[in-house]
Amino acid sequence: MLRFPLPPGLIGSLLAALLMVGLPTSPANGSIVQGLELQELVAHADRIILGQVLFSESFQRADGQLGTWHRIAVEREIRGSAPDEQEVIVETLGGQMGDIAMRVEGEPSFRVGERVLVFVRDGGPYTAFRPVGMGQGVMRVRREQGVETVTQSREGLMLVRRDAQGRLERSLGALPKKERLDVVLSKLRDIVERNAGGVDE
């Protein structure tokens, strides 16, 4: 085995380089949206679903804009009225048709195959569900070292809220940092039970 012992000063320099590369950065922003705490996110959601993204397809809406439908296989329903439903359709603004694309900063994106925890509101009789608070209503599930975690999607969002004087101020949103999935689900069940008196699972 070849080894290249490094002088102490060099190790320091390389360490500094690695530290600087690893500086944390913030998520994207875009649309200016009122930040929602976890309780508010639940309160605004008609359904809360843990599921897997099966398919995404863009289309042209009645208003001429582009939208995208995402088919999500329901794995578990934390709030909702159709526990036997296998799939739900979630609609996001923006999409692509041919060479043309439409983008709305702040709308969440989904990747086929990923698992997500989504907070959605009823889209009315002719439309699909919509994420609550744009990207705030989508949390991505990851498995890291055998532990399932969730991270709130804040892509393209600037989160604000009003302080006691009515002025806009910073909002950290519902999930400021990554958390264990089971912990978040437990919190959600508590909130749903407290507010609505029952949990659909």
């Binding site: 002088p7 944390p24 950065t25 001429g64 002719y126 919509r130 994420p131």
Partner: protein, 335 residues
């Protein structure tokens, strides 16, 4: 390799790392693949960056203005809004990029009649509209509309292959803010900040300046002082003023060039200030305007003009000059 060489390499690595970290921690440019940026992820650099190929741009404020502005002795409500919007947009091209301006020009037009965020083959306007109810007028009756928690959204149409921006529309939520939805009231707040209230005024200039950044393809920044900062808005009026990071963004994306005030700011497909009624006053049905160009049907973001565009260009120049003269005249009269 000698120790000195190794130190030099390490120093180089450290400098590169510093540059990379600084770049990653600052502004981002929107891209065709812009999507999730989870946790501490840096800018997404997949896909083509979104940019106006012809950065000679026009915009128009919808003539119906906002419910939160009222006529005064000095100016109509619409004039007040236009003044705020003009100042907010002007912040970007007036940046100093090392002694020169970015290659970016905004030509404010006379008011539009367009609350629809659409892109057509038959004519367009980059419209800035206040919506109450908070939904596109052409949306289905049952469509829930834009997200109720959003104060403003900027809708950017672009070519998904090249990233060339084709059209951008800024929609502002004109509803009264309640616990169930975001919204106004909006105001042109004094420099010391908006007065408190319940709900208090929101500074319109801060919102428009931020959204104008997206209008030209700038994504997020995690520099806290930046107008394009990710999650903070600590005081109501600070986003009006561009920070160094915002200036870096616009100078990098639109480096100094040779655009002049007489440049061609005709929107893709031609200018159509009124997207709701025809010249004869008949309403344009929501499904009537030309559909977005199909694959290959549009030279994205190009400055190519259709035969009739020469006249449109002349008209636009006249309209733009008239609008500018009218607005600057108003300001001179007030000052």
């Amino acid at each position: 390799m000698s120790d000195r060489s190794l130190h030099a390499v390490a120093l180089g690595l450290a400098l590169c790392a510093c540059f990379t970290a600084d770049r990653a921690s600052a502004y981002c440019q929107m891209t065709t693949q812009g999507g999730a940026q989870i946790g501490g992820a840096p800018c997404i650099e997949d896909g083509a960056p979104l940019v106006w190929n012809n950065p000679c741009l026009s915009y128009a404020v919808d003539s119906r203005g906002s419910r939160w502005f009222e006529d005064t002795a000095e100016a109509t409500a619409l004039e007040q809004i236009e003044a705020v919007v003009d100042a907010s947009f002007a912040a970007w091209p007036s940046v100093d990029c090392g002694g020169d301006s970015p290659n970016l020009i905004f030509q404010p037009l006379l008011p539009s009649t367009c609350k629809r965020a659409e892109f057509n083959t038959t004519g367009n306007v980059n419209t800035i509209a206040f919506l109450d109810p908070w939904k596109d007028p052409c949306a289905d009756v049952d469509d829930p509309g834009y997200d109720p928690m959003a104060l403003a959204v900027t809708i950017v149409w672009h070519n998904k292959q090249t990233g060339a921006i084709l059209d951008a529309d800024m929609m502002i939520n004109d509803q009264l803010a309640t616990p169930r939805n975001a919204g106004g009231p909006y105001a042109n707040c004094p420099d010391e900040g908006c007065p408190p209230g319940n709900p208090g005024d929101t500074d319109l200039a801060s919102i428009v300046t931020h959204e104008a950044g997206h209008f030209i393809g700038i994504g997020h920044s995690n520099v806290e002082e930046a107008t394009m900062f990710a999650v903070a808005m600590r005081t109501s009026v600070e986003k009006r003023t561009l920070a160094q990071d915002d200036r870096d963004a616009v100078c990098a994306i639109y480096p100094p060039g040779d655009l002049t005030e007489s440049c061609n700011a005709v929107p893709e497909g031609g200018l159509q200030l009124n997207c709701e009624t025809t010249d004869s006053g008949n309403p344009i049905a929501c499904d009537e305007p030309g559909a977005p160009p199909s694959s290959g049907g549009c030279s994205a973001g190009s400055t190519a003009q259709s035969p009739g565009d020469t006249w449109v260009t002349l008209l636009l120049a006249l309209v733009g000059l008239t609008a500018l003269r009218r607005r600057s005249g108003r300001r001179d009269a007030r000052s």
